[in-house]
């Protein structure tokens, strides 16, 4: 299974619709401090169902919605879509291509879609469970967090082995 595309709209500093294609084995993202690189990673965490505001560097859940700049007004919702090539059926769902969308409105209303079908957060978590994606997987290492795996307590490390078992 591979990542194909990420579409970001109104999420953090990505006010405008932005599409990233993941067409190669080794992809790099570069840019000046504060330009939005880690925000892309936050968008990926978020569309996988991340609920912890702290992991997204925010204080409230609506902090991820584009808050405006000195010259542009804030937006009313954030939306992220991720597209997978599922031709090896790695995700146990009957689609060659899987598209997951998460949307959050400023009034707190959330929407989740799997291949266009309205779903619950639970369905997204179930889809990714034990697939090395989302919660508890070590497949996303955030900025400044690489050393954490050494200093976490013993239980957390035993979880790593349980995950791989």
């Amino acid at each position: 299974m591979e990542l194909k595309k990420l579409k970001i709209y109104g999420f953090k500093s990505f006010a405008n619709k932005t599409v990233i294609s993941f067409e190669d084995p080794f992809i790099g993202i570069v840019g000046p401090n504060g330009s939005g690189k880690s925000n892309i990673i936050d968008a990926i965490r978020w569309v996988f169902g991340e609920q912890s505001n702290k992991s997204l560097r925010g204080e409230s859940s609506t902090d991820v919605i584009f808050g405006g700049t000195q010259t542009k007004r804030k937006q009313n919702f954030a939306e992220v879509t991720i597209v997978f090539d599922n031709s090896d059926n790695y995700l146990e769902i009957e689609f060659l291509e899987v598209e997951v969308t998460r949307r959050l409105y400023r009034n707190g209303i959330s929407e989740y879609l799997i291949n266009g079908v309205e779903s619950r957060l639970k369905d997204i978590n179930d889809l990714f469970l034990d697939k090395g994606i989302g919660k508890n997987s070590f497949s996303i290492i955030s900025q400044g967090k690489i050393e954490e795996i050494l200093s976490t307590n013993q239980d957390h490390r035993r979880q790593i082995i349980e995950e791989t078992a």
Partner: protein, 157 residues
């Protein structure tokens, strides 16, 4: 369950020992069960000894050595569990130039089986990357993304 935990432990430990040696160019590493009698409750301790040095607590290692040890463990997990993709946000920040090179070339090796997405400020990492995306804020406070080649990418760093 106990059997599969033990099997996973044995395999992860073996991968970790191999990968650590490759990234450090030598040395020794280990994963130790704090309570080998009980697979249900045992904790796991990490042992790391860079080449030529004596074994000491992991806390005494340098910033770069800790990063490289953590990277070795992450790569061991990847190789064992075959995750579809890995995302690394500036994990090369503490590495010196020669270790950045090892790290980047190691990813290149692994990327035949696992997709890697990497954020970096280091030119040496950039040189190993297949396709590069540059993020900027042309319009203040608003991010935009554009595909760049290596030469353009070096202006983004």
């Amino acid at each position: 369950f106990k059997e599969s935990f033990k099997a996973a432990y044995i395999q992860l430990r073996s991968e970790f020992q191999i990968i650590f040696k490759e990234l450090f160019g030598g040395g020794e590493a280990d994963l130790i069960l704090t309570n080998p009698e009980d697979m249900l409750t045992t904790g796991v301790e990490i042992i790391a000894q860079p080449p030529g040095k004596k074994l000491q607590t992991i806390s005494l290692l340098s910033g770069g050595e800790k990063t490289l040890t953590a990277i070795s463990l992450i790569f061991s997990i990847i190789r064992m569990k075959k995750v579809p993709f890995v995302i690394l946000d500036e994990v090369d920040a503490a590495l010196d130039e020669s270790n950045v090179k090892r790290y980047a070339e190691y990813i290149k090796l692994f990327s035949s089986k696992t997709q890697f997405i990497v954020i970096t400020h280091r030119p040496t990492t950039m040189e190993c990357i297949d396709s590069l995306y540059g993020v900027t804020m042309e319009e203040e406070g608003i991010s935009s993304l554009v595909k760049v080649n290596l030469k353009e990418g070096e202006n983004y760093v």
